[in-house]
Amino acid sequence: MTAAPEQIDVLDEAREQVLERGVGLSEAQVLKVLELPDDRIPELLALAHEVRERWCGPEVEVEGIVSLKTGGCPEDCHFCSQSGQFPSPVRSAWLDVPGLVRAARQTRETGATEFCIVAAVRGPDKRLLSQVRDGIKAIREDGNDIQIACSLGMLTQEQVDELVAMGVHRYNHNLETARSHFPNVVTTHSWEERWDTLKMIRDAGMEVCCGGIIGMGESLAQRAEFAVQLAELEPDEVPLNFLIPNPGTPYENYPVVEGAEALRTVGAFRLALPRTILRFAGGRELTFGDLGAKQGMLGGINAIIVGNYLTNLGRPAQQDLEMLEELSMPIKALSQTL
């Protein structure tokens, strides 16, 4: 009778592979991390924090976002209260240029280095791109040197080139979930269409921001699949959202992701993406509360969105800035690159 081969602990593997060599975990390894029992979460988060410090440094990147065009979107992303296809209470709204300038100023005053202009559209039309162009020009004329990112849906090559010419340095386009789960979440366009936009962004020299939402009915295996698909993309930033079940959307009755599960996800994504900016984004207030947010910051996160989101409210920016100070985490300065 031969002895069973000794099981190698996934966190031991991660210590050698990710922390020492900077090589992200494989899909099978990420799944093992996502299946760790609750009593191993502190160990996971401590390792993820070490990985983040080793490969990204101690700074935290702070960002603010604003919705330039709200609601009335033709797409059917099932998590989104801005889709025109669902009976959501969110009505269409456009932010004018002075409003955009004020939002950018509010964001810069928090010490943030990133300001993301977002529109609920399939892709930008001439009117929207013109509004973005005028907005960026007015933000600069206001003396605001914050770095500007955009999230305007799927792009053509011509539109990518226009955004580069406007000085947009980073573009957000989330893959949202694993490729195998995407058709359950969105039916009006494909995961591959999103991937194509991301490739154009990268090829044009813009930074790529691409993440998704946890808690949309995906299995743990699909969550691991998603982490590794993101790693294959090599994005500069991954925003990690947790589902906010918004009224009128197909997911309005989905449960909020439980705190321990969310923390395991944060740790696992850090171990899959050791060198990427991993940002706390929407839903953390419901999922974590105050205590969990600190645990996440000490568990691999190195960027946050401060203030409000697009249609939902966040914690006051000051509260998050105080949390960073309490954790002795320096805010990234404008001249730095993580």
Partner: protein, 62 residues
């Protein structure tokens, strides 16, 4: 009669504890409390403004 700003139903009808929790944490008002019309809401990094076509605008500052 007043209406719940989260779900738009009669404030006196049913339990609005969940609505109040959402409004206190992550949601701006979506329905006018005077007439239950859906409002046009603009969220900004440090506040929100909600406009009812009949009863005017309210903001997070007021």
């Amino acid at each position: 009669m007043t209406y719940c700003s989260f779900c738009g139903k009669d404030d006196a009808d049913g339990d609005h504890a969940f609505c109040r929790q959402r409004l206190s944490m992550i949601d701006p008002p979506r329905y006018c409390s005077e007439c239950a019309r859906r409002m046009v809401v603009q969220v900004t990094p440090d506040g929100w403004a909600a406009r009812c076509s009949r009863h005017g605008e309210i903001t997070s500052g007021r």
